[in-house]
Amino acid sequence: MSLVPLLLSATLVCAQVPKEILIGGTISVTGRFSTIVGPFKKLAEAWEKQVNDRGGIFVKEYNKKLPIRFIIEDDKSDQATSQKYYEKLVTSDNVHILIGPFGSFLSFAASTVAEKEKIPMVMVCASDKRLFERGYKYSFSELDYADYEAYAYLEMLKKEGKIKKMAMLSEDTLHSTGMLKASVAKAKEYGFDVILNETLPADVKDFSALITKIKGLNPDVVFCEGFPSFEIPFMKQALELGLRPKEFYNGHLTKPVIDALGPMSNNIAGGAYWVPGFKFPGKDDYLSVLKTTGITWDGYMESAIRFFSYQALQNAIETAGSLDREKLTNALRKQKFVSISGPISHKADGSGTIIPLPIQIHEGKFVSIYPPDVADGKHLFPTPWK
């Protein structure tokens, strides 16, 4: 029997085994989102090393572990730039799977590439409901709708029964307006009197007039949803002009807020996707990756979301047992696993199941305050203004 066909087919099989799993994505190293995710290229590299030090990810089709390699570009916090790079990653770099850019705004553009090229994308920090109303089949998020982000906080307020009036405002971006609209509806459902409901341009810097208006309304809680470039000027001016509600809530409560406000940041409430109180699997891996990069979980709270997105990506590859795009997509669609922030699965529209839990700043540190089984501190209410 001739050995030539056997050798030929063996050669062909060997030639088809990729030497590595290519994961393509963009990160906002510069631009308005860089405050939140700028250093995350290091996070990708650290996770890549962690996985490769363990031999890589097992792919059943090749019966071996394959190392991973990220190809990351800087999207400059810009939709067109993000979209351009995703096109390049798919058509030129021939990546096997995509990891999304930061946020709903950029994902809105980037996911169109995944849909057009029929390549799966694990979106990161992308949760605006409108993303999932397009009927896209190739994009998946681990997060539940942005609309629900403040639900746990509002639930906590409802159970405590100490507030009546809320003034609610947001910046005018895809994520924030969706979140505000749903939070206003939930607040009303809980019986709170929403005495202000405003959306402002994202790059507004002067809030004096609005703060004057809010002061006149005397709310119990001032609920401000936006990114740090919106929240910090609002908070600074609110504190300067003597706005003293029982509590401030910031939708993106991050370390730059603490740095910019100093001691005045105490008792501001917000939400976090991961807190040290969680006991789900992968916590040590997450902390180990953070240690390598010098990023702290509270300095960059979106690092947890990115990490469990990597977990989702790995889980999908292992479940699919292949790097075939359709098999990966199906694996993501049916995915069920436990991440560092809890169980993850996807709804039919591609959205996930994780929502942030309430936190509060106590003496310059983030403390989780609800629900009781993961809280590592008490909800200090009302704010003891001096």
């Binding site: 860089s34 405050t35 507004v204 002067d206 007039a209 004057t212 600074k236 730059p256 910019a260």
Partner: protein, 306 residues
């Protein structure tokens, strides 16, 4: 017992509402004037530079950003009062502006008219992008803000921001100082002469190139001073420079290119517009400012005092 078709309680309610609205309007005028003062501080410098050199400096916003950044760095290192720290920045930014003009703008000054304006836009825009990248590389892209809050002044329920009041006082004093400088000093008169007729000034023995450098130095000081207020009141990142330059350009166009008092007036109008729309229709504050600009230019194409 009523008066006509109204009873006295209705009149009291109307009285309270009118008094309440009057109080709000006064508060908004105060807010707008104070904010306008901050705008005017930076716009003043840009107008001064254009008036003397005919250069549209799109890096002006970056000078403001750098002023804020260095204030932030000094504050984080010393925790001293940032307004006092800004005094250290004055000579630093004068030298920076002087050298910026000598290095990048001087080669353009031999061009004339529109050629000079276009060339200056391109060169200063390029410089602006370079400053953005360098700053981001060395100091990071994160939001930076100074945690410094002064108690506000409460006048019977109307709150006046102390920091903004200081900014307004600063610009008022500056206006007086610049006015005296231009009228009473040789350099000031030379600067005015250069603005009116560059060739004529040269013929009268004025070193117009040196005047241009000095003007850039002064303009840069003003921008950096605005940056100090900016980093206290708001936050800065390396990326705020170009949008701010465009905003200040709109202010000086509104006030009249080359008119110092026009830039003050333009800043005040913008501040007051933003205050009123910020209260009654916050979503439209940026659009309203644009419409005001267009309306003014339709009525007075050269700007208010152009």
């Amino acid at each position: 017992m009523g008066i006509g078709i109204w009873d006295s309680s209705e009149i009291w309610k109307l009285g309270y509402r009118t008094a309440g609205m009057a109080s709000i309007i006064v508060q908004l005028l105060i807010i707008g004037t104070l904010q306008g003062g901050i705008y005017a501080l930076a716009a003043f410098g840009l107008s001064l530079i254009f008036g003397v050199s005919n250069v549209l400096n799109l890096a002006h916003g970056q000078f403001l950003m750098l002023g804020g950044l260095f204030s932030y760095i000094l504050f984080m290192a010393t925790k001293w009062n940032p307004l006092l720290l800004s005094l250290i920045l004055i000579p630093l930014f004068f030298v920076f502006g002087f050298l910026f003009e000598r290095g990048l703008v001087r080669p353009l000054l031999e061009r004339k008219g529109h050629e000079l304006v276009i060339a200056s836009i391109l060169v200063t825009l390029g410089a602006s992008l370079a400053i953005e990248d360098i700053t981001s590389f060395f100091w990071g892209p994160e939001e930076k803000g100074i945690s410094y809050i002064m108690p506000s002044i409460d006048l019977g329920g109307m709150v006046i921001s102390s920091i903004r009041l200081l900014g307004l006082l600063f610009i008022v004093l500056l206006t007086v100082a610049v006015h005296l400088f231009l009228k009473k000093t040789y350099t000031g008169r030379a600067l005015r002469a250069t603005t009116q007729n560059r060739q004529g000034a040269m013929l009268m023995g004025v070193n117009t190139f040196r005047i241009s450098s000095i003007t850039f130095g002064i303009g840069t000081i003003l921008a950096s001073a605005a940056g100090v207020f900016y980093v206290i009141l708001f936050t800065i990142t390396p990326f705020i420079g170009i949008p701010l330059s465009i905003k200040y350009l709109c202010i000086i166009v509104m006030g009249g290119l080359g008119s110092l008092y026009g830039s003050l007036l333009g800043g005040l109008i913008l501040g007051i517009t933003e205050a009123f729309t910020g209260f009654f229709a916050p979503h439209w504050s940026e659009t309203a400012a644009f419409f005001i600009l267009v309306a003014i230019l339709l009525v007075r194409p050269k700007g208010l005092l152009g």
